[in-house]
């Protein structure tokens, strides 16, 4: 039953079954099953020798698996670094500079001064601060980021804007009412600021005129 040239062993010769089409592991399951059956029939010394071969194989397989896992981790690290490069956070110094920009209004300071704080690694490995010139586009981006990035500022702007609109509206309405009381026609452009009871005011005016007649 044994054959010459074990590398060319075709399990179909022994078991008359199909080899799996998967060529990544050519015929291993079938071949393995056959060998296992043969070993079960073998004397103990052969089985012991087979166990040692299996141990050796397992150790080598573990090394390959470990090496493969390390290679994939290296690839993952490369991907992660690419993402960090895209957001300009690929070094400790850049992260430090970004942390400084979290402080409120630092972006405004950068936008106004045209300089930003960056860090360089010294020979001793310490981060050394230095000021870097930024162009107009970057100044604009810092300013926009500061406004968009700070909820406090947005809330402040909203309150300011609402207070301003409310104040203007109240002032103009007061002006309209005064003009009406004095019998002056509405000033152009003020009609949109009339309160919802404006038609009622017109009716009252008509009633007064009728009484006079």
């Amino acid at each position: 039953m044994a054959r010459e040239g074990s590398r060319d062993v075709d399990p179909r010769v022994y078991l008359d079954i199909q080899i799996p089409k998967n060529r990544e592991f050519p015929g291993s399951p079938v071949r393995g099953q056959f060998i296992k059956k043969e070993l079960e029939k073998s004397p103990p010394d052969v089985r012991e020798a087979a166990r040692k071969i299996e141990e050796e194989y397992t150790q080598k397989a573990e090394l390959i698996v470990r090496e493969g896992a390390e290679n994939r981790l290296d690839l993952l690290e490369k991907v992660f670094k690419r993402v960090l490069e895209a957001v300009d956070l690929d070094s400790r110094e850049k992260v430090l500079a970004a942390l400084a920009e979290v402080i409120p209004f630092v972006g405004v300071l950068y936008a106004v001064s045209g300089k930003r704080l960056t860090f360089e690694r010294s020979d001793a490995g310490w981060p050394l601060p230095r000021l870097e010139n930024i162009n107009w586009t970057e100044r604009g981006l810092y300013l926009i980021s500061e406004i968009v990035g700070s909820g406090h500022v947005i809330v402040g702007l909203k309150r300011f804007a609402f207070k301003g609109i409310a104040s203007i509206t109240r002032r103009r309405l007061a002006q309209v009412n005064t003009q009406q009381e004095e019998g002056h026609p509405l000033a152009p452009g003020f009609t949109n600021l009339l309160p919802t009871d404006a038609p009622k005011m017109e009716v009252e005016k008509e009633r007064v005129e009728v009484e006079i007649k």
């Binding site: 044994a2 074990s6 050519p26 060998i35 052969v46 194989y57 090496e67 493969g68 690839l75």
Partner: protein, 71 residues
């Protein structure tokens, strides 16, 4: 051009754990074409090495059985 389907095919035939296969399938959409090709090459390389080792192991066992039968 390397596609996600290529990766799925390679993963299907690989010796990676199911958990890792799923993780790479999810992560693949964030990989560039070059990185995807590199990943596929790595997995193929590992599969080929494992297959070669397995064949070598089976060869040894067969040789052992043959020697035993000849005794």
């Amino acid at each position: 051009m390397t596609t996600l389907q290529d990766l799925n095919n390679v993963l299907e035939n690989s010796s990676l754990s199911q958990e890792e296969k799923t993780a790479w399938q999810n992560a693949a959409q964030y990989l560039s074409g070059e990185e995807l090709s590199e990943l596929i090459a790595l997995i193929k390389d590992e599969s080929a090495k494992i297959a070669a080792l397995k064949n070598s192991y089976l060869d040894k066992l067969e040789e052992l059985i043959k020697q035993s039968e000849n005794k």
